[in-house]
């Protein structure tokens, strides 16, 4: 039924208005349970995809302060995390390592799925803080300096490992951990493990593949058997065309396998390069 033009604006007939109101009340009644079910499904999907790692807690609220908490509650979590990161940079410039550590923890708590915070946070603690304390002349003796340095290395390592837990497919965190084991902790076997894991992840640079093998060589873990196995695995992974190219280029994989086969007296029939 078409409404007469004269009745269109301010004075819709009461029956029309009541009918509309009833329809909307019905719509609302239907929508409310659907809304809850739909929202639950969205939340489950997001949980499955591992989003929203950390919820707002009282401790987090106290650490952030009122302004930033409102920012988080307004859906500006990433911007708030970036603003907190500014404090990390300031603390780093002032060599205030404790403050820097707590801000890094805050940033990673706000955005656990932002690998950049774990990556840079671990680097700040395990490298910047630890090296700075190693040469800190205000400490009375070297033992204290080494102890303090080791403390920050452990803190950085903790950040890297927690970062890997939250972002297992981000190659750089595995690489950072490997680098720390390699260059600061001199634990080459563990470094080899992390390099190997990093090289297997998406977007990892191709040169990482040989780092795990390098970790076992004479200059590092000095485990010729393990090094040989790693180089051999790398060689077997290549396509025939790539192998030809590597031989043509005189690549290190080939030379290392030849050297180790000689050194370990591998029987000719088991060698990759019998000649």
């Amino acid at each position: 039924m078409e409404i007469p033009a004269s009745q269109m604006s301010t004075c819709l007939p009461l029956s029309w208005r009541l009918r509309r109101a009833t329809l909307v009340a019905l719509l609302l009644g239907l929508w409310a349970p659907c809304k809850i079910v739909w929202e639950q499904r969205i939340a489950q999907e997001q949980d499955f995809l591992r989003y929203h790692g950390v919820t707002m807690t009282r401790q987090l609220r106290d650490e952030l302060g009122q302004g930033l908490t409102i920012g988080v509650l307004s859906g500006m979590r990433s911007v708030v995390a970036d603003l907190v990161w500014l404090n990390v940079t300031t603390a780093w410039m002032n060599n205030d390592w404790w403050k820097m550590g707590s801000y890094i923890n805050l940033c990673t708590a706000l955005q656990p799925r932002a690998p950049v915070f774990w990556d840079m946070g671990g680097w700040e603690l395990a490298w910047n803080a630890s090296i700075s304390t190693l040469y800190d002349k205000t400490q009375p003796n070297e033992l204290r300096r080494i102890k303090a340095s080791r403390f920050w290395i452990d803190k950085g390592l903790e950040i890297y490992l927690r970062g890997i837990e939250n972002n297992p497919t981000y190659w750089r965190l595995w690489n950072d951990t490997a680098l720390l084991y390699d260059q600061r902790l001199k634990d080459y076997r563990t470094a080899a493990y992390y390099y190997r894991k990093a090289s297997e992840l998406p977007n990892a640079p191709v040169y990482l593949e040989r780092f795990s093998a390098l970790m076992y060589d004479q200059h590092h873990a000095n485990d010729d058997q393990a090094a040989y196995a790693e180089w051999k695995a790398l060689w077997e992974w290549l396509t025939p065309e790539e192998r030809q190219m590597k031989i043509h280029e005189g690549d290190r994989i080939e030379s290392e396998i030849r050297r180790l086969e000689q050194k370990l007296s591998v029987p000719k029939e088991k060698r990759v390069f019998p000649n």
Binding site: A5, Y51, I70, D82, L86, P115
Partner: protein, 307 residues
């Protein structure tokens, strides 16, 4: 039907023209564009010296965060201020009487106004997104320039296959992060959330007597909307531990307030994580249905309002 659509479009066009002429909105838009542009400066402040070592992940993340943050924040202000003024201003200027005296339904008037603000918001978001894209492109150029300079330090690096592969990898990483197609998904989700905000503000403005009331109430609902998921979880899980009042309150919030927190999924996109399109479409569908409900309620309330 066609004539009704025609009337809605005419009101929408008029609303858009009026809104574009408002100085407050123009100033907000300028601030938004400045903030999006200055995100580059901020990123360099947060990561001093990192550009020299070619670590661009952090800088690109900051630019993305601030760009999308500015679109979300200023888009929210633009949506809120322009919607809150729609009906009170028409009443104050008495223009609503001349419009409603014509053969225009109240629902058409309301839908036309809504469409006008949505168009305005779309225009603003498109402009801010363009500025954001330009900023990201500038960041990409900087990244490539610094990478070139870093590799140029080693003489004849192009002859070394390992260095060439590392260079290609670095360049690919920068380009991949800057030209991430998921950013379109992020902007669409931000827009969907903002349109929901318009719906809420419009609903409140149908019974509010002043713009301030609409602004404050919408802002509160927006904030509560980000905690709705917590209220819902509590309500659904609450047993003997909560009183009937507590349970009723959180139940009321859960049933009434939209879940704005789901849209913070945009943060995941900005952090470089994959968010499937199916999930984004699910969220957009949710926003659309919610909007239909909000508009239906707004129309009924506006019908009953004494003008």
């Amino acid at each position: 039907m066609i004539s009704s659509l025609h009337r809605i479009i005419t009101i929408a066009r008029n609303t858009l023209t009026e809104s574009v002429r408002k100085k407050v909105l123009n100033v907000l838009l300028i601030f938004a564009l400045v903030l999006v542009g200055s995100s580059v400066g901020f990123s360099q402040l947060a990561t001093p010296g990192l550009d020299s070592s070619g670590l661009f992940d952090a800088q690109i993340k900051f630019v993305k965060d601030f760009g999308c943050g500015a679109i979300g924040l200023f888009g929210f202000f633009i949506a809120l201020l322009s919607t809150a003024e729609l009906i009170p201003q028409e009443l104050h200027n008495r223009t609503i009487y001349t419009i409603l005296a014509k053969p225009v339904r109240r629902s058409e008037f309301l839908l036309g106004k809504f469409l006008g603000v949505v168009l305005l918001l779309a225009l603003c978001v498109a402009l801010m997104s363009l500025a954001f894209a330009a900023t990201l492109y500038w960041q990409e150029l900087q990244g490539l320039k610094t990478t070139d300079a870093a590799y140029a330090q080693s003489s004849n690096w192009q002859a070394n296959s390992v260095l060439v592969s590392a260079y290609n990898h670095d360049v690919q990483q920068i380009v991949q992060q800057v030209r991430d197609p998921q950013l379109i998904e992020a902007i669409i989700l931000i827009f969907a959330k903002l349109v929901m905000t318009i719906g809420i503000a419009l609903l409140i403005s149908t019974f509010a007597t002043s713009s301030i009331f609409t602004i404050v109430t919408t802002f509160m609902i927006y904030l509560i909307g980000h905690m709705e998921s917590t209220a819902r979880e509590f309500w659904l899980a609450s047993g003997a531990n909560s009183s009937i009042w507590q349970s009723s309150l959180v139940g009321f919030i859960s049933l009434l307030i939209p879940d704005m927190n789901s849209f913070t999924i945009v943060d995941e996109i900005l952090a470089g994580n994959k968010v499937p399109w199916s999930h984004a479409l699910n969220l957009i569908g949710y926003a659309d249905v919610y909007l239909i409900v909000l508009l239906a309620v707004s129309v009924v309330i506006f019908d009953y309002r004494e003008i």
